[in-house]
Amino acid sequence: MTALAKLFRTTAFKIVAAYLLIFSLFALGVVFYLARHTQQLVVSQITETVDLEVRNLSEQYGIGGIRRLVNVVEQRASQPGSNLYMVTTYSGDALAGNIVDMPASVLQNEGWSEITYRHSEAGNAAKESRALVHVVSLPGGFRLLVGRDFEERDRLRQILAQPARWAVVLIVVMGVAGGIFVARRVLQRIDSMTATNERIMAGDLSGRLAVTGSGDEFDRLANSLNAMLERIEALMSGLKQVSDNIAHDLKTPLTRLRNRTEEALRSAKSETDYRAALESTIEESDGLIRTFDALLMIARAEAGEARHGMTDFDANDVAKSVVELYEPLAEEKGLRLAADIDGPLPVHGSRELVGQALANLVDNAIKYGATGRPGDKNEIRVATHRENGSALLTVADHGRGIAAEDRGRAVERFVRLEPSRSRPGVGLGLSLASAVARLHGGELRLEDNSPGLRVTLALPAQSGEGA
């Protein structure tokens, strides 16, 4: 493509062209309007002057008859100016006046007309001019013509035309300049956005679009794109973290699994040995599958993919069924699982995921919430209530809790706060609960239950009836 064709294709060029067209049309319109108006004004002034003169001369005729009229006309006609006079007899012979050559028919028609004539004064004789004339017939068959040259109007037109031309030129120049300026400004920002975008697409996810702070459309666009980039970056870093963690937390059991199998091949003596090795292999792979499922679930919840399967359900039903599901297990571990649940608590979302999130929290509380020391308050309390439009599902234990500085980290995937990882679990429970909360537009709060941990799954409540 040639450079010129490229230029024609740019938005800048199109904007400038549109600007120019609009400005020129507007300027021309203004000039024409002005010209027309002044012209009308001049013509109406001419008409007035001529009318006055006709009335005046008619009066003179009335006072002193044709002789006096001829005298007056001759006197006035000889004065410099653009007034035209002519007095004729009924047959059309001129008695006085300053017009030499004009169509004879003019005098036949009374009233107003425009004529082309020659002035009687020397020097001007050759020049044809146009004038507006008024013809009246006087008593006695005489005819009087009074008129005024258009010279004045033409001069005025010239006076107007010159600056108008300049004005049009000026407006066009201004239009082009303004157009270029606006287009450049707009397009520069778009171009810079494009450039930033390309850099980001090339892999620099930390890049952000510039915000000028003026709060204009571009700032708004940049802000919303930046928010999007923020989210993408968070997702990407989450993804990276996950892949790092997968590398660690899936490879470790895989290594274990492989080692055990190898070991069995090498040193197993009896069928019992082989059986034991195979059973532990299945157990290990089941653990891997579980971890994998949990990861997929989190990834889906975080991507917001489960959103289309959402329904209205009662969070209290879920809480009750989870408590009921875990109550025997808690009891077996010497914990009391108390429920503080009443009335319906309508929520819009995925019953399944909320149930799973809450089950994870209760499961965690059962695993970590018991100090095991007799005399300690070995109780886990599951409570639900509504607060400022949020449905709060709280699981509180009296275990060792999580230190304040570790709470943020606790919801990350695979983070188990004991470095030894001696206790069961894959460290995905809280991050799943947190992902579920965010999927529903809520949040997961970890607080001190002094002693112990209080985890709250806050979901936006439905403003349902009976809540």
Partner: protein, 226 residues
């Protein structure tokens, strides 16, 4: 039982055929959706086991097409997609149960047997009887040797499900799905604790245990004398 397995992975299919045969079932295999469709319409089968992603014709469209033709055979959908909404779309297409890969064979077998039983007439009975254990579904009453056993509502539903599938292995996930209506993996042995509670109520004090643990698979209720 005659089973139709539609599975494109030949190794997995061969494994299934062998394992199902060992469990006493006759198994026909189709390796793609079209073949599966033809067999499903022609053959006499008790259960279809259909993989969700198949060459030529997708598993879900196979199921819904077969259903449109009026075939009522129970369908178990197998899928590598195991999330809640995948399950929902699978069941909506006309599947009766959904099992995500990878699965334990015991789980698959238990589900196949449960599906075959689903259409059996006794599912509609109002009173289930196993040995001297009776469960009245309408009166919500359970008794053993004429002696009434009080049960919590959830324990009742647990026992009801086990008794409906009496003589069959019922897995933990089947219980979680059918009694609690949750489809996630509870990670811990929550179900075991519920079952052992139930067992202490119905078996304790009687000579013959009825609720058995099937190692590596799940639970089964049956009259030990059978």
């Amino acid at each position: 039982m005659r089973l139709l397995v539609v599975e494109d992975d030949r190794e997995a299919a061969a494994y299934l055929r062998k394992a199902l045969r060992e469990a006493g079932h006759i198994c026909e295999i189709a390796y793609d959706g079209e073949e599966g469709y033809a067999l499903a319409l022609d053959g006499e089968f008790d259960v279809f086991v259909i993989d969700r992603m198949l060459p030529k014709r997708d598993g879900l469209s196979l199921v819904s097409e077969v259903r449109k033709r009026g075939v009522r055979t129970p369908v178990l959908i197998l899928s590598a997609l195991g999330q809640v909404d995948d399950r929902v779309t699978g069941l909506r297409a006309g599947g009766d149960d959904y099992l995500s890969k990878p699965y334990a064979f015991s789980e698959l077998l238990a589900r196949i047997e449960a599906l075959a039983r689903r259409i059996a007439p006794q599912a509609a009975d109002t009173v289930y009887k196993i040995g001297d254990l009776e469960l009245d579904r309408l009166a919500h009453r359970v008794s053993r040797s004429g002696q009434e056993i009080p049960l919590q509502p959830r324990e009742f539903r647990l026992l009801e499900y086990l008794m409906r599938h009496a003589g069959q292995v019922v897995t933990r996930t089947m219980l979680l799905e059918n009694v609690w209506d949750y489809h996630f993996d509870p990670q811990t042995n929550v179900i075991d604790v519920h079952v052992s509670r139930l067992r202490s109520k119905i078996d304790k004090g009687f000579d013959r245990p009825l609720l058995h643990t099937v190692r590596g698979a799940g639970y089964m209720i049956r009259d030990g004398a059978r």
